[in-house]
Amino acid sequence: MRLEAFRIKNYRSIVDTGWVNVSPDNITTIIGQNESGKTSILEALYSFFNGKIHEDILRSDMKYPEISCAFLAEKDFLGKRIPTDRLSPHLVTSFKQRPLLYLSRIWKNSHHSYLIYGNDEILEASRENEQKELEIEELLLVKIEKLLNETSRLTEIADTAERDLRKYRSELDGLETKYNKLIRSIERASMAKREGLKHEAESCEKKINEIKKLYTLSENNFNNHNEKLSQLIIKSGYAGKYKLALENVKKSEVGLKEITNLIEKLKFEIQINPSRRRSAKVLRNLKESEERKKQIKSEVFRFREMLRYAKECIQLALQNTRPEDIEVKARENYEKKEEQLDLEELALLIFPFVPEFALFEDFSSLLPNRIDLEDMLLQNENTEGFNAVKNFLIVSGLDSSFFNEVNTRILKSKIENLNGEISLHFQDYWRQNLGRSNKIKINFELEHYDLSDPEKKGKPYLEFWIKDEKERLYPKQRSRGVRWFLSFFLELKATAQEESSRKKILLIDEPGLSLHARAQEDVLKVFEDLKSEMQIIYTTHSPHLVNTEKLHRLLAVQRADEFNDHSETLVFDPQKLSQASGDTLSPIYTLMGTRLSESNFIQERNNIIVEDTHVFYYLKNIFDIFSKNEKIYFLPSTGARNIPLLVNMMIGWKLHYAVFLCDHKESREIYDQMKELLFRGNDEECSQKVLLMKGVEGIENLFSTIDFKKHVLNKRVGITESNLEYIADNNLSKSDLASAFAMRCHNLSLKQEDFDEETRENFRKLTAMIASSVKN
């Protein structure tokens, strides 16, 4: 996995860099004046990795930083490292299109940050989803309220109906008893009373019937509502559980917030009041509070789980799921959602695989004159020069077992061999002579203290020398530049050799400040050597630390208002270098000469780089005839291979350019190389700047055979192959032919009509393609 791009927000002078691509060939050079924000970029990237910031990096608006990195992963990363069924399909599809992984670290306060997966698009989609979820929850609460109201309304109705039923039943019972009594009385009564009783019985019967009707009505009413109610009661049960769970979550979250504030307050108290007694009490209090916080945290977690489950249940109930299925299905849904990774979980899973960022601000640990072997074996990191010696041993391939050799003669012989190897290796990079002609040599020796140091007598120590034929000097007797370079060399080599499952990204601030110009160029050589093993991002002012053949590696940093140190930092990638100020680009001008655009050879705009002089001749004359009004400046390279160098120079000089290539193996390779290095693999952008005339192997093939014979070859002969093949088969010089064509154009003042339709059509297409590229 490698770093592809970064974006920094709210970090010292940086407001928002936007996405900035790092160099695809693993060495990225950040140039810019003092106080432009170069170091901030390195520190921000380091903060992304270790999650730490100092308060002094906060901007005046007190917005906390947000640092994002895009990593190019192996194509099978997602399936191999993270099961794709735990991811949203959108993420999987976008990864398949380009295996880029986006991680952002966002700070909540000076001490806490969290990682989240996604670029703007993914995060926006996630925010939209969250918003939708909130809306769904709000709607759910409204539905729940309605449900509960309805349940209570129906309960009231059912209760009333039940009361009525009881009342009617009791009335009926009374009336029926009365009626039966009346009937019996009629049988026994005299004629005179019978009529009266009959009348009373009829009236009683009538009332019985009336009440029976009312009873039936109430019974139906009761039954109806009771059925509805029994359904609602199940739903209301889930609604109640949901509301309770919600309340619990809210309460526990409030509790968590309170206890967190309390802990912060206690910590602050400890900071400002170091009195032991007071502190002891506060410390006890703090310990208890932290214990309590743990409990509340687990409660919050448990309540949130319960809430999620309750939510599934009530949603299913509201969808009229069969009551016996609700809990089974809710469990299934809950578990399924639990398995889905959210963006924060995903970021945490990916983070262990991203390269390790290491920040080298200064190589403070310079190689000492000597160090006790005991200190090295016991890892006494505070010993002077410990790190430099540790690196030395790693680069030499030595571990503690090496010094277990008891035979001093064998040990010394091994050390002698190693000294030779290390010196040779170092000389590959350090090309400065020491003295007149002698190359620097690095030596270490294993010695033992003698009587002059009675405390350490007999104990082994390592002694270091930097020597030439005449002098054998301790490191401290050499210049700071030599020592710095040696330490830098050891540090980088050791880092590259360290066995780690993670790749490394070295962030180096101003390397080689104390070095001579040539030695600074040697630093570049070390970078080149290590770039296959790690990515290197470094800042510099020095023109000697800028490889002018590889300006695609540059990022230029400057303030939005160059005269105001409080204005925000802007970052320009190679494609936008022309927007950077002359002062920012001064290291490039120093090396490449200034303002070539002010000469008449190349102009600020409309420059077309072509493969060779013969293409130059053809194009210049073709444009004179077919597109005279276009002011195009053709710049011949010396072969397609050298075109990237010219492109570098154009970028360095801030000149607008396009490249014209015919379609052959070498030019296609150059096209692909520029596509990767300058356009980050974006074919559309590359094809606008690098014009590859597809299907046309050489510019000579744009002439019809007849015009080729007439205007280029000046010979009547049958040609059945392509013009280019004819030239090759007959060992003709392309340059001679091109110059003959130029002469003919000049001497005969050739016009468009002098070419046949086929040639005219080809030339019109060619001139239109080139002209449109310079207008872009």
Binding site: T705, R716, G718
Partner: protein
């Protein structure tokens, strides 16, 4: 004496064999008819082998068609015609270009094969040719001619599309691109391409050349008859014109009823 007659027998055997080879290279009539059903070829070689040849090739929606007349007749002409057919097949092996591009390329092939560099003696070898491409998608006929024209009729009115005055092979002036003429389908009823043998034939009352004027007149006259009878009519008319005279050159004439073709495409 016996030896001489033996040699003569050998020679005529060889020529007959050469004729077989030439016939094998010429497109089969059936193949021709399959590609262009409403067409005829009047092919009357003067000798056993001929200096005239015809050629047809179909590539996707384009049909290339040519009637050519090589320098000389008999064996030298036949050699040249074999070369011509081969080159045309080679040029059209992948796709059929524009009619003028086909002729430009054919000229390059001939110049290269005969090692012609524009010197005077080079100019006697070559061929004249009428080359058409029928584009059924664009519904148009492309024509380019090296000395040989194309005649077409619309509503019985004859029109001539002139050829460039350049041969296939090196000519007296530096090579130029052949012109490309484009005629839409709906502007043609029938068209004819041919070698010069028909018009150069001696005969008639004054035993004179028929000439192009006479040939065009015959073409005009037969328009009164259905196309299916044109081959026979043209054959009969040249036989009548020739009478007892010897055929002076190879005769090749191709007729196409475009109206029927484009009505069907």
């Amino acid at each position: 004496m016996e030896n001489n007659s033996h040699n003569a027998v050998d020679l005529s055997d060889s020529i007959r064999y050469a004729s077989k080879i030439q016939s094998a290279l010429l497109p089969e009539r059936e193949y021709f008819k399959k590609i262009l059903p409403y067409s005829f070829i009047l092919y009357l070689p003067k000798d056993v082998v001929s200096g005239d040849f015809y050629w047809i090739k179909k590539r996707e929606n384009r049909i290339g068609l040519a009637a050519a007349d090589c320098t000389g007749h008999g064996v030298p002409g036949a050699f040249m015609s074999i070369m011509g057919i081969n080159f045309l097949n080679q040029i059209s092996s992948v796709c059929l270009g524009l009619s003028n591009i086909i002729l430009n390329q054919l000229r390059e092939y001939v110049m290269k094969a005969l090692n012609q560099k524009g010197e005077n003696e080079d100019q006697k070898d070559g061929m004249d040719i009428a080359c058409c491409v029928i584009d059924t998608e664009k519904r148009q006929l492309e024509f380019s001619g090296a000395n040989n024209p194309l005649i077409y009729f619309k509503d019985k009115e004859m029109k001539i599309v002139k050829a460039d005055r350049m041969p296939i092979g090196v000519g007296p002036v530096e090579e130029e691109s052949f012109r490309k003429n484009i005629i839409p389908f709906d502007a043609i009823d029938k068209f004819y391409i041919f070698s010069d043998g028909y018009a150069d034939q001696f005969g008639g009352e004054g035993n004179k050349k028929l000439k192009l004027k006479g040939f065009y007149q015959i073409l005009n006259e037969i328009q009164e008859y259905p196309f299916e009878q044109h081959e026979e009519l043209l054959h009969n008319r040249i036989k009548t014109w020739m009478g007892d005279n010897e055929q002076v050159d190879d005769i090749l004439l191709i007729g196409i009823d475009m109206k029927k073709i484009y009505n069907e495409t």
